[in-house]
């Protein structure tokens, strides 16, 4: 079965991204497919490579990047939500005249249409948020 996942809150501040990560791992481990993980609202902040969590805590961005690499997950950050919150890739930074970008490996920025498309293509859509 194909799952589509929405993450609506930022890392550490809410448990949502942890719960989503645990769900995705369990889905993959039990033979399901995860067609996409869509980061919306503050969820876009999961995809910054500039975070430096305490060493004795889980490394949320690195967990997602590693899981995406291992399972070829499609981690999509909503462009509209990301612009409001200051999450950019190089392409966006160039286009908007910003002097830096902060997106982490394994994530890509795209439009809200990718959320709707995920809802259409996945058998089940599940949101982790607040």
């Amino acid at each position: 079965m194909k799952f589509g996942i929405v993450v609506s809150e930022g890392p550490y501040t809410h448990q949502a991204s942890d719960s989503a990560y645990n769900f995705v791992k369990a889905a993959l481990a039990t033979g399901h497919e995860v067609s996409r993980v869509f980061f919306y609202h503050d969820g876009v902040n999961v995809g910054t490579r500039l975070s430096i969590p305490p060493q004795d805590d889980r490394q949320i961005q690195e967990q997602w990047t590693a899981l995406a690499k291992e399972h070829e997950l499609d981690l999509v950050i909503c462009i509209a939500a990301a612009q409001r919150r200051g999450l950019l890739d190089q392409n966006e930074a160039d286009r908007q005249g910003k002097d830096a970008n902060n997106i982490a490996e394994g994530f890509r920025i795209s439009g809200l249409g990718q959320l709707i498309e995920m809802g259409i293509q996945a058998d089940r859509t599940i949101t982790f948020g607040d």
Binding site: Y40, H41, G111, L112, G113, I116, G119, I120, T125
Partner: protein, 135 residues
């Protein structure tokens, strides 16, 4: 499964204190381009999103409430509003914006988009969906 899915956007939060109402609308507008069977649900504090006369000037916020009146142009024409949620908050239909759409199957007659339903009927609406997105 047919090519068209039933999408329900569930709104349970008040506007302005948090961004969920505003960013939910952004999803609905983009989603309208996908030719799915779309509806919105307003219950609990979500009914506060639809009040008329919102004036955000002094608070320094962006007033996104006019967007609700544009939904008809995007063929988003089913806005289910829960009666019990209105009652608990002392609101009536008169307190909400007059949101209409032009029915192209009926000589473009203007019809109301807001459908006030009981809690039981709202539960039926929810149970009849393929995809439920919550905000």
């Amino acid at each position: 499964m047919s090519d068209v899915k039933k999408f329900l956007y569930v709104n349970r939060k008040a506007p302005y204190g948090t961004i969920y109402a505003q960013e939910a609308l952004e999803v609905v507008l983009i989603g309208a381009a996908f030719d799915q069977d779309v509806a919105m649900a307003f219950l609990d504090d979500g009914v506060f999103q639809l009040t008329k006369g919102q004036d955000t000037k002094e608070a320094g916020l962006k007033n996104f409430s006019p967007t609700f009146r544009a939904l008809g142009d995007y063929e988003v024409t089913k806005l289910y509003v829960e009666q019990e949620s209105l009652d608990e908050r002392g609101l009536t239909l008169d307190d909400l914006q007059d949101i209409q759409y032009e029915d192209e199957d009926d000589d473009y007659e203007e019809k109301p988009s807001i459908i006030v339903v009981s809690r039981a009927a709202m539960a039926d609406v929810m149970a009849d969906q393929d995809v439920v997105l919550s905000f």
